[in-house]
Amino acid sequence: MVLVLQLALAVVLLTAWQFLSPALDMVFFISTPQAIAESFIGLARSGSLLFHAGITTLEAGLGFLLGGGAGMFAGVLLGRNKLLSDVLQPFLTAFYSLPKAALGPLFILWFGIGLNMKILLAATIVFFIVFLNTFRGVREVSPEQIAILRLMNAKERHLLTKVILPSAIVWVFAGLRLSVPYALIGAIVGEIIASNRGLGYLLSYSASRFDTAGTFAALGAIVILALILNKILDISERRLMPWRVSDAGREIVV
């Protein structure tokens, strides 16, 4: 049912695009689904799509893991340490609000123009999103449950594994979900700054040649990557929260 509706919606959107684009004289800017599909298939056939997508996936994936991991760590650390978080909060906000693209030169100075730079750019963007959500999640943990466990002589490490992480995990995953596209965007911005491979390269290459179909084909590949990464998140979320699964089908009992 859901799938049928999704397909229907997709068909409607694509058809509208296919016909309105020439009708409104916008082929130059938005191409048509057909041309995009052809370009996409051409890229896929030649193997260059897989090549470029693979590189971007690698960069975004590593950036995601690095930034996400660091974000969770910092989120838990600062979430559990009021003084530290009070002191660091404006600094973090400040760094967070810097447009990352403006930091391009610095990233190049420090990390060169290779994979590292792109991974770190993606990681920086992911870091803040995951950090802020994790932080909020840790702050939302019920102080009562923490008190109860401390009465049982729980050390910080027990609190962490038994209360804080399970309780904050919804927040962490919300943060991860938010940052999936940003990991990709970070890698792609990095590739546009300095690269001769990756989907960002494909994107700017097509754009510079006014190959709108090619541009959209690259965008399509990015979207597909994002959907795949999201799916992976979905699955790991369900695995990490077994109590939620049993929640889903349960009767509401009051």
Binding site: L149, R150, L151, M152, N153, P166, W243, S246
Partner: protein
């Protein structure tokens, strides 16, 4: 016997200005089974919370083994009024928490959890999540969790309130037996006058808010009693009636219900 918990002129005013208790003086001897009764909102839970060190009194001090309680007092075990089970753990997982913290082995934990599940009548529900339990079952799971660790003092806030009479009687018997054999000190809040009389070596009666100690009744019943047959014991009936009479004036207090 030496005093394990001492309240010295303890008063507690909460941040919003509500004076929960005031002028509490009480010494609890090691191994005592103290029951606490009093009108709803008189500060019984507050007293337990301060004993557990969750917050400090705003006046006087609470001593535990002669030391003022200034932080979480992990020598006490606390079965709270609301169950506070971890929703992301199964019943067995919840009961295992204190055992895991104590660093017991997996096997040992599994065995201990089985034993405790049987003790509180939850065999077969080890793999259920708290949301899949009835109210009374959750209480029993919390009790099992309390019993899983081995604190020298048990703080129990209406532990049997949500249980049927039979289950309650059985668990009362188990608890009494356990405490006697291990020499635990118990601080037991209840609303059930019969239960207070049946279980307590001493029964502390609170006035309504701000709670003060109205009276401490030392039970005339022997420490070893047969709870099963207590119902038919005239001395018991007399003590219950006495407690009823003591608590009656509370009806006239400021906080009590008025005619609508």
């Amino acid at each position: 016997m030496s005093a394990i918990i001492v309240f010295q002129d303890v008063g507690k005013a909460f941040a919003n200005g509500v004076q929960a208790v005031s002028g509490i003086n009480l010494a609890v001897e090691e191994g005592d089974f103290i029951t606490v009764v009093g009108p709803s909102g008189c500060g019984k839970s507050t007293i337990l919370n301060m004993t557990a060190g969750l917050f400090q009194p705003s006046a006087g001090q609470v001593l535990y083994r002669g030391q003022p309680v200034t932080g979480i007092n992990s020598r006490t075990g606390y079965m709270t009024q609301v169950d506070h089970l971890l929703p992301w753990r199964t019943v067995a997982g919840n009961i295992a928490v204190p055992l895991e913290i104590a660093g017991r082995g997996k096997k040992e934990i599994a065995g201990e959890v089985e034993r405790l599940l049987a003790l509180v009548g939850l065999v077969g529900f080890g793999a259920s999540y708290p949301t899949q339990l009835s109210g009374g079952m959750r209480k029993r799971a919390a009790l099992a969790r309390l019993l899983a660790y081995d604190p020298e003092t048990l703080l129990m806030d209406e532990p049997f309130g949500a249980l049927d009479a039979q289950m309650r009687l059985t668990l009362q018997i188990q608890l009494k037996k356990l405490c006697r054999s291990l020499g635990k000190t118990v601080f037991f809040v209840t609303h059930d006058i019969d239960e207070a009389v049946a279980l307590g070596d001493k029964c502390v009666v609170f006035t309504s808010r701000p709670g003060t100690i109205q009276q401490v009744i030392t039970s005339s019943l022997p420490s070893e009693r047969d709870l099963m047959t207590l119902r038919f014991n005239p001395a018991y009936a007399e003590e219950c009636a006495q407690l009823w009479r003591i608590l009656a004036p509370a009806l006239e207090a400021q906080n009590s219900p008025q005619e609508a």
